[in-house]
Amino acid sequence: MENRLRLLRAERNWSQQDLGERLEVSRQSVNAIETGKYDPSLPLAFRIAELFDLPIEDIFVSPSRRASKAI
């Protein structure tokens, strides 16, 4: 799933390891989410949103909305 996680992390000068520690997941997990290889569960998506103090939809791009925009 497309997302702004890398950008939000870079704005705070956090490494993937830093973000992983804040979310209590591995660096690999952060990398997989950032690169769109893995879609986080709803609880993890909420943890990410709460960490950045943003709504989920401001971090993750809805695949259905993205598809409708493309049309």
């Binding site: 209590e24 690999q28 290889k37």
Partner: protein, 136 residues
């Protein structure tokens, strides 16, 4: 290689202790049978003893999956296990038919566990090729 999460470290310790128990029980059972030290009434229980730590390894894997809090790492391991299961069952099925048609010799059933562990390696390669991370 999968991230060294706390759950993974606990799993590794369990594997070490179970492997040690397996080695001790196997040596004891082989020694007992070889020197005819086992009373007839205990032959079946003693023969099963080395299997118990192996069963413990499966339980340890199950417990690891329950304890693993990193959902991405858990997904990688589950994928690996599915590959391992498919690989081991396929090997057992193919060998079973070859054996039925007298084309190969008999292989003891517990070798399917070795095939399963080998399958974990196959799963790790598949993970590496598809998502860029190996697994265990």
């Amino acid at each position: 290689m999968v991230a060294r999460t706390p759950a993974w470290k606990r799993y590794n310790w369990r594997v070490i202790w179970l492997s040690l128990a397996y080695a001790i029980l196997l040596i004891a059972a082989v020694y007992g049978f070889k020197h005819k030290l086992i009373p007839p009434a205990l032959t079946y229980p003693v023969a099963i003893l080395p299997a118990l730590p192996i069963i413990g390894l499966f339980a340890a894997m199950g417990r690891y999956l329950v304890e693993e809090t990193d959902e991405y790492v858990r997904m990688l391991i589950v994928r690996q296990m599915l590959w391992a299961m498919g690989f081991a069952l396929s090997c057992a099925t193919i060998w079973g038919f070859l054996e039925s048609f007298d084309l190969v010799g008999h292989v003891d059933g517990y070798y399917v566990v070795i095939a399963w562990y080998f399958g974990l390696g196959v799963g790790s390669i598949v993970n590496k090729l598809t998502v860029g991370e190996g697994g265990c």
